[in-house]
Symmetry: C2
Subunit: 197 residues, 2 copies
């Protein structure tokens, strides 16, 4: 029904997370019918980001600059390091507003099946950062999934052998969360990690 | 938090319908973290579609070809014309499988506030098509919205003055509903029950 270029645009929109065939079609027609300006801007932004965005030389987060804004900030305490899986996790922890150290962004987790090992996560670079910044404390904030836990365990062993104080972000009941809707595994961890009042 | 190029990518993704700030961020990071190939394909598809997709010389639907596949099909009855708002509406009516004529795609509806008048909808071109193809019957299938009804009325007057048998798609289509979301059976009934205007 649609001409080849429109079909190709619909197909290529499906690489976006959460976009199925119906919304890809809707998006393609919307752009071609009445959003040429936005589509042009998007094509340019994609091309430029693909060409120029790489890794921060400090924390390995995504950036087109040599150093990201956090690594470049002299006010941040370089001896404290929070290790996360993704740039979105950095944003989440920053929004809490209580951490004044730096980050190390793995961009993933250990996943041998997908060929993601210590090298792909930049763990050799993590060693350099730890040495160079004389890191004293590392907080591992990988996701609470099987892969996240395995990655945490691997990194913890690597860092503990260097006499660094390594901790894991606490697991428990979310603030404002109702107990009855929290899953059993989380509750078990929350009970285990209880604090004396 | 994010570097300028990543911010720009997030912003530019928001031109897509249904994409808010949170999903734009998710999309941008997803593409940069692990979908370079898809992002590259999308950038290319956008650029190419913007450069080359124009209007069908027959029905004015979106296509990069001179004539769309329906206008180029000699089996279709050129004396019967179905007038719709968008390319998605053509797809919807084709899925009903009962209409063997051709289409005329307005790419919109009359909307004086947005500066969309008869000229923007190609109604002068509609006159040419009607003359050139000796159209005998026109079925107006604009949306069942206030604007769609007003557009229908305007076009009906224009065509009736040319002694064409003009009908409106039957209101099996839910009032206020958008044509592209209506199922094929309902559309088949709506076509069958069309009323002379
Ligand atoms: Zn950095
Ligand atoms: Zn056509």
């Amino acid at each position: 029904m649609f001409s080849p270029l429109i079909k190709e645009l619909i197909e290529s929109l499906r690489c976006l997370p959460g976009v199925g065939p119906k919304s890809a079609q809707k998006m393609a027609l919307y752009l071609l019918e009445r959003e040429h300006k936005g589509a042009d801007r998007l094509a340019g932004a994609l091309r430029e980001a693909l060409d120029k965005v790489g890794r921060c030389s400090g924390c390995r987060t995504l950036t087109e600059e040599t150093e990201c804004s956090i690594c470049a900030d002299p006010e941040r305490d370089a001896t404290r390091l929070c290790i996360v899986e993704t740039p979105a996790d950095v944003l989440a922890i920053e929004s809490a507003g209580t951490f004044d150290g730096r980050y190390f962004v793995l961009l993933g987790h250990l996943s041998p099946i997908d060929g993601i090992g210590p090298e792909e996560l930049g763990l050799d670079h993590l060693d350099n950062v730890v040495l160079h910044n004389q890191v004293e404390e590392a907080i591992i904030a990988t996701n609470s999934t099987v892969e996240g836990e395995a990655t945490c365990h691997y990194i913890a062993e690597q860092l503990k052998s260097k006499n660094i104080n390594v901790s894991r972000i606490a697991h428990g009941v979310p603030m404002g969360g109702e107990l009855e809707y929290v899953d059993g595994n989380t509750l078990a961890l929350a009970l285990e990690g209880r604090k004396t009042l």
